[in-house]
């Protein structure tokens, strides 16, 4: 299996995903829906994630993957119940095992769930409402717990999801889906819809057939949690992140020193400090024969915090680090590794499943007019944006909302395609002429609402580097924006609060990564009226806003109304297989042509730079990052 997707055309065609940094909302976690599962199982017969090596050299066990990151960027303090970042999931692939999981390889095969703790993919009842799983034998928790993992440890993880004080961030995948699951105050309590008839069997009773349910059992919040430790961390949220008990091949350094005899004796494990380091070492209780998904070549991981991104790449170049993790290499580094043939093997370009986009607020003039939104789609120079990010290595220009791997709609569908993707003034003007904000049919917005429109951006490169081009493009059709640059988290908070978001006409700061391979992860959270909540929405464009809701939220509802995509999305939800994919392709097209909430910019790649010490490169399509569980190094370093 070719682990280097950039050399595997079929993978590149199927997956044009992208890098995901620390987005609060868009964790780039990929899972395949059942539909794709059926198709793709065939091509994953020889799994394992070991791949062609960039340099000759035997793949041996030992050594440590030494890396650095500018910040962990965790949004749930590393507690698996609340951690909703792709980088967090990349570490969990070393620490935690779930009922189902992935092979840690690139491409479509890396999105197919495989049995991990479970003996098989589970049994579904004919009505699609009951899923039964059996656990493998001889799988123990790491030190200091050291006991066999039972089905009630998994059930306890689900119980934690519903305890509001623990702030589970993707509880919506389980609440209302599994019988009896709903958020409540207070410590975790029993869930009626999950049975554990014996210590090795777990049965889920669903309220409604959910075809992508197995994929949801691969997410880290469902990994077994030993109650004897976790009961000490019922609130505030995140405490368990300092004392995660391992079920995977690695554990946090110092886990064996932790004393679980009582809550007061539990101190944070020494290997994790959210401000400086994460050190993982081998879990002595992990047995290779029980784990088909992880090679666990390295003896450990040494991830340190280095806020100077350039320094990280300098250290990789000099060999004191083995490779990068999630940071986008600066353009100078990209040029160096892309043009020097002796360095090229150490540059790994892997498509992810994330769309970078410009979101237009349907409530805010002039973007309440579809012709204006279409004109913006025509005018934006996407090639220029791609350059700001560092050129084609960093991503593929996006022609529509969902990355091709989601619903299978590829690059051939591009309703606003322009020559060289540089934008088309005449088409933009033709569209603008039909707008009510251009009564004189000049091709420019002449209404006063087009002056001083707020453009929200992040205050960090490469976003700031792309800003000038977007501002200039918008000015060409008479939209004169005032750019506001905020720190990434503040920028998200501004638009995920409906009221403050109403002050922003157009925002280029967000990006969205699929939680798993099902196309609905690119539909419901982003465009359904259900996801319109006063604070914390991810429907930044306000698609499906109604007059009543607008009144309730205290925002102005445009006289022309706001389009909704609810009917289109809801029609797809019961569907499975190819029918589902085709249906969501229709949603994507409907969004692009009849709603037009976005200007999709590009589907980015994760570019990882390694040093020659990395003898086996592996990319985990599920997390969208280096597969730490499957890489091998030759550095003999100890964690």
């Amino acid at each position: 299996m070719d682990g280097h997707p950039s050399r595997s055309p079929s993978n590149v065609d199927q997956l044009k995903g992208e890098e995901m940094r620390v987005s609060r909302k868009g964790s780039a976690l990929f899972v395949f829906g059942v539909a794709s599962l059926l198709i793709a199982t065939a091509c994953s017969s020889n799994n394992g994630g070991s791949s062609s090596t960039p340099t000759p050299g035997a793949v041996t066990k030992g050594g440590t993957y030494r890396s650095a990151t500018s910040s962990f960027g965790f949004v749930g303090d590393f507690d698996p119940v609340g951690e909703y970042t792709a980088v967090g999931f990349a570490y969990y692939q070393m620490l935690l095992r779930t009922l189902l999981n992935y092979t840690g390889e690139a491409g479509a095969a890396g999105l197919v769930p495989h049995p991990d703790l479970a003996t098989d993919l589970g049994t579904v009842s004919s009505d699609g409402l009951t899923y039964t799983y059996h656990l493998k034998d001889n799988i123990k928790f790491g030190p200091p717990i050291n006991r066999e993992i039972t089905s009630s440890d998994i059930k306890y993880a689900f119980e934690r999801i519903d305890s509001s004080s623990l702030v589970a961030q993707y509880a919506f995948y389980y609440d209302g889906v599994i019988k009896g699951m709903a958020p409540h105050n207070g410590p975790p309590k029993n869930i009626s819809g999950i049975d554990t008839p014996d210590s090795k069997t777990i049965v889920f009773h669903l309220t409604t057939p959910t075809s992508d349910f197995p994929a949801r059992l691969s997410m880290a919040a469902t990994a077994p949690v030993p109650q004897e430790v976790a009961k000490c961390f019922t609130k505030p949220a995140g405490g368990y992140g300092n004392d995660i008990v391992s079920s995977g091949p690695y554990m946090i350094q110092g886990a064996d020193q932790m004393d679980p005899s009582s809550c007061s004796t539990i101190k944070p494990m020494s290997g994790y400090d959210p401000t400086s380091k994460l050190i993982l070492v081998r879990n002595p209780n992990w047995v290779q024969s029980t784990d088909d998904l992880r090679k666990a070549y390295v003896d450990g991981l040494n991830m340190s915090i280095d806020s100077n991104v350039d320094d990280i790449f300098n250290k990789i170049s000099s060999g004191s680090l083995d490779g990068s993790f999630y940071e986008i290499p600066p353009p100078t580094v990209l040029q160096k590794y892309s043009t020097d043939s002796s360095l090229k093997p150490y540059e790994h370009i892997d498509p992810q499943n994330t769309t970078y986009y410009i979101s237009m607020n349907l409530l805010v003039p002039p973007f309440d007019d579809i012709h204006v939104r279409k004109a913006v789609n025509w005018i934006i120079d996407k090639a220029g944006i791609q350059k700001a990010w560092g050129g084609p290595a960093t991503g593929t220009i996006a022609g529509h909302v969902m990355p091709p791997s989601m619903a299978g709609l590829g690059a051939d569908y591009n309703p606003y395609g322009t020559p060289n993707n540089a934008g088309d003034l005449s088409k933009a003007e033709a569209e603008m002429k039909q707008s009510k904000y251009d009564p004189g049919h000049t091709g420019k917005c002449t209404d006063s609402v087009c002056n001083g429109v707020i453009l929200l951006n992040r205050n960090e490169p490469p976003w700031t580097d792309a800003e000038a081009g977007i501002v200039a493009d918008l000015a060409k059709i008479g939209i004169n924006v005032k750019a506001r640059e905020l720190e990434s988290g503040a920028a998200y908070q501004t638009i995920d609060t409906v009221k403050s978001g109403a002050g922003v006409g157009i925002s280029m700061n967000p990006r969205w990564g699929a939680d798993y391979g099902d196309p609905n992860t690119f539909a419901q959270p982003l465009f359904s009226s259900q996801s319109l909540i006063p604070v914390g929405t991810s429907n930044y464009a306000m698609v499906g806003m109604t007059k009543e809701k607008a009144q309730k939220f205290g925002v102005t509802y445009p006289s022309g109304g706001v389009p909704s995509a609810d009917a289109q999305i809801n029609a797809c939800l019961p569907k499975t297989g190819q029918e589902r994919q085709t249906c969501f392709q229709g949603v994507d097209k409907y969004l692009m042509e009849d709603v037009v909430p976005w200007v999709p910019m590009f589907w980015a790649n994760q570019v990882t730079i390694t040093s020659p010490t990395v003898t086996n490169w592996a990319f985990d399509q599920f997390t969208g990052f280096i597969a730490l569980q499957n890489v091998a190094v030759s550095n003999n370093a100890s964690p």
Partner: protein, 329 residues
């Protein structure tokens, strides 16, 4: 701060009273003639003044210069960056090279003078106005007014300046209409507001100190006894005597305000990316250590920033020496 004696224009007689060195009979000179005679001997200060005038002309005529070059400050040139988005260096087309977005660094540097000078003059002007007024009131009215103003000065001076600036910018740059009912608009106006907010206390303190000593002088008593009102004494008798320290101090504040603006822009606060600013350009150059490749992105705005602050400092020093000959370095 030095304990300067203020200059009372009608008493300033140092030059006039001294016998002329060449033996000619002494001619009565106005204080400004005396000032100019001293000032023009200071070649550094003169150079600084000339440089500032040149910079002001550059700022005023920036659009003309840009027209001559043929590049706008926010015009993007696709071929000014390579396929990796890295900019081209100085050439006959781009005299100072290009930046990451493919814009002309020369034109942006020229336009940057506008931002720097505008912010410096505006913010310093506002700070001077507030500082002098409050300083006068505190020093002259004294009593509880003095207490209130002096404590206010203490409070403002003890605020962590940069943190506070970042906080205000964050709070005021989100809402479309900014803060304080639109008074503090995001962008240039916000930066001016922040700088003025943190600069006026210095001036107010100095003015207050001067007024405290001036109000005990005989000519004020004389004014009083002739029945002059409080406002008249404050603004007609005392204020003119403060001209020298105000001019000197204001000139010295300007360069620090230019640097403050640059620092705020460097931190990505306030001034949007599309407004050319030296601080912002330096920040762009240091992002991703771009200067290791595109040294021109850092060098040229850096030189202009250096020259501008240097010029104002030289001028300020020269003014101080010329206006206040009794001061000792």
């Amino acid at each position: 701060m030095r304990q300067d004696q203020s200059i009372r224009t009608d008493q300033l007689d140092v030059g006039a009273a001294a016998p002329a060195p060449d033996g000619q009979s002494a001619i009565g000179k106005t204080p400004w003639q005396l000032f100019w005679r001293r000032f023009k001997k200071d070649k550094f200060a003169l150079a600084g003044g000339i440089l500032i005038i040149v910079l002001i002309f550059i700022a005023i005529f920036a659009p003309l210069i840009a027209k001559f070059v043929g590049h706008g400050p926010n015009e993007l040139f696709d071929n000014a960056t390579n396929e990796f988005g890295l900019p081209v260096g100085p050439s006959s087309r781009f005299w100072f090279g290009a930046d990451r977005s493919g814009r002309d660094v020369f034109v942006r540097t020229i336009y940057g003078a506008r931002t720097s000078l505008a912010v410096a003059f505006l913010a310093t002007g506002i700070a001077t106005l507030i500082g002098v007024t409050l300083g006068l009131l505190a020093g002259y009215v004294a009593g509880s007014v003095d207490t209130v103003i002096s404590r206010l000065i203490d409070v403002v001076l003890s605020l962590p300046l940069l943190l506070f600036a970042l906080g205000i910018s964050a709070a005021c740059s989100v809402a479309k209409n900014g803060c304080l009912h639109g008074l503090v608009q995001p962008g240039l106006r916000l930066v001016v507001f922040i700088i003025a907010l943190f600069t006026w206390p210095y001036l107010a303190r100095i003015v207050r100190g001067q007024v405290l000593s001036l109000r005990e002088r005989e000519f004020i008593e004389a004014s009083h006894s002739m029945g002059a009102g409080e406002w008249r004494i404050m603004f007609a008798d005392i204020l003119p005597n403060l001209a020298a320290p105000i001019i000197v101090y204001t000139t010295l504040i300007i360069p620090s305000n230019i640097l403050f603006e640059a620092a705020l822009s460097f931190l990505g606060v306030g001034i949007p990316q599309t407004t050319p600013s030296w601080g912002r350009m330096l920040s762009d150059a240091s992002n991703s250590q771009m200067f290791t490749y595109a040294w021109w992105m850092m060098l040229f705005p850096g030189i202009f920033l250096l020259l501008t602050t240097l010029a104002f400092n030289l001028l300020g020093d020269g003014l101080r020496d010329a206006l206040d000959p009794r001061s000792r370095r």
